[in-house]
Symmetry: C2
Subunit: 342 residues, 2 copies
DNA sequence: TTGAAAGCGCTAACAA
DNA sequence: TTGTTAGCGCTTTCAA
């Protein structure tokens, strides 16, 4: 009941193992006659031959395994990216290994270490911080890796994200079009590229509309969570700053804001407008439904995987490091409406 | 710049590779002196030795990889199970490989094949159908595997799930306590154990309360989706059967029901009560918020992983196949209220 | 307690 | 075009 191996196939087909190997791998230079190839392939199938990945990996130093590192799969932002990547990779014969870090650097380091010891061929990294020694190390060691969703300050690795800036700009355009003039931004954490880009794009958009930009118009949330949204909104209300609209760093922050505002007697969309970011599942079912920026998450995952494969398969392709941004769209729903008094 | 290997450690420590191997693996019978062990371990750490998994796997036929098969990670039911399993496995030195099948048998077969060819040590399977040839094959071949969330008719493999029956019973108790007498069930697909168990428990609960059980009181949904919930509810309304409460097969079906009912002018909780199952993220934020059964998903993942490891590590442990059910709780929220006219 | 040696299954360089 | 051979890095049996 032992597994059938290459030598069994070779014997059954009446050739030597080396030849069988070449035939099965459709070796480009070690030319094998069409007839032999056919016979070997047919024999392998008949015997149910499955190559031993350990032996192959030991010999070739290639694992056909890609590691994907996310903060937390439980966050619905990530599963679609995972699916997109998975599809591309599995089609190319690779296996995806997923690991969560919970934004903990020690844990992340350990995960990467473990994966590297398994001979992982490349990494898809969705956990990058703006200043990220870990990611920079990876870049220096020359391990094939692609950043997804979050970039680093040093653009050493290829990056696939979405057009955050435009997402924020259309949000602000939308609000200004509804007559809002006093708009605030509950920014995501500033140690992530997304938090920084969105905040920067927010300020820029106001200037484009020739609206004043006060420093206290951007409140930083310590994380992308509902709780952080509650805290920031509480601060905002306490500050006494007038506002009729909020651009939130993401949907969870928006939810925290809506809740806090409602508790203070201000309801969307009549008293205040709120726009989120990410378009998480079910935010369209809330009452009122959340106006938010939708991202092509699956496509981001797929593209990142393709770039990674290209990097792995012709490793001497030292072209310019790619920074790819995919388009976003604003889903206009119930939490945004005309500015009060218009 | 080549990776440091066992022989380097052995030389640096002044021992033979065999000894170094035994020292590093704290070999139970090949006894190594404490002093030697200390020296080898210290040297290995100093040189940054990382064992080559291919060589080890080739020699030992063990991969320390576990495959987890889910229908779709994008369904928020699964990520918490994945996290639970991941934590237990990674602590034990295993790596989790996740794959999605989209409920497609051919795809599932291919995924399992690929994972087996990689020498995967065991499987966590969340895709089981009530009649599932694929899973039965796995059981026969003797590959270590544990079913999670969904069971098969043939109880050949260990199973970890939740107490579906009690979940449904407390739901019915809750509704009956609110004065409801005409309760219907929008059952999940009957080719899954969850769909069957919940439907059966529903009928049982009615009998316990000495309520009549008509066949047309249980409507089968073709899948666990909102769309299927819409269709079933449409059929229900068309049938003209009177009802004041719905026990839905899961939250998505409940959402479809609420939507369809609202379109027909019947609103929860005043006109009709609706109870879901799973307690997905954000269903507590809807208006009205969804009354539903909450499951210990993370714990299910963790327990399944522990059982799998036990099966792998002492494979001669042919004890009775375990069927473990974890407890559930009813989250009473806004969609359930007193029966109309009470 | 440690050393020596074989071999897991495969691929690739070289020879024919 | 095919055969021969060596060896990837590790564990483990056997011998010392």
């Amino acid at each position: 009941m032992t597994r059938v191996k290459l030598i069994d196939v070779a014997r059954a087909a009446g050739v030597h193992p080396g030849t069988a190997s070449r035939a099965l791998n459709s070796d480009p230079d070690g030319r094998v006659s069409a007839e032999t190839t056919r016979r070997v392939v047919e024999t392998a199938k008949r015997l149910g031959y499955v190559p031993n990945s350990f032996a192959r990996g030991l010999r070739t130093a290639r694992s056909f395994v890609i590691g994907m590192i996310v903060p937390d799969v439980t966050n619905p932002l990530f599963p679609p990216m995972v699916r997109g990547a998975e599809q591309v990779l599995s089609q190319a014969g690779y296996t995806l290994v997923l690991t969560d870090t919970d934004n903990d650097e020690a844990s992340e380091r350990a995960q990467i270490e473990r994966l590297r010891s398994r001979g992982t061929d490349g990494f898809l990294i969705a956990t990058a911080l703006w200043e990220d020694p870990l990611v920079e190390e990876l870049g220096e060691v020359g391990v094939p890796a692609v950043l997804i969703n979050r970039n680093t300050a040093v653009h050493r690795l290829p990056y696939v994200g979405c057009d955050e800036r435009t997402g924020i700009e259309v949000s602000v355009d939308h609000l200004v079009g509804l007559g809002h003039r006093e708009i605030v931004h509950l920014a995501g954490p500033q140690d992530t590229s997304t938090g920084r880009e969105r905040a920067s794009a927010f300020r820029h958009s106001l200037r484009v509309h020739e609206l004043p930009v006060d420093p206290d118009q951007v409140l930083i949330c310590s994380s992308y969570t509902e709780q952080a949204g509650v805290e920031a909104t509480t601060r905002l209300l306490a500050s006494g700053r007038p506002f009729t609209a909020i651009v939130a760093g993401n949907d969870l922050i928006a939810l925290g804001a809506l809740e806090t505002l409602a508790a203070a007697g201000r309801h969307a969309p009549d008293d205040v407008s709120v726009v989120g970011f990410n378009d998480l599942p079910l935010v369209d079912k809330l009452t009122p439904s959340l106006t938010t920026v939708a991202l092509p998450l699956r496509e981001m995952g797929a593209l990142a995987a393709r770039i990674l494969l290209a990097e792995i398969e012709d490793s001497d392709h030292f072209g310019p490091v790619a920074q790819s941004l995919l388009g976003v769209s604003l889903a206009v729903r119930g939490t945004s409406g005309p500015a009060p008094g218009r």
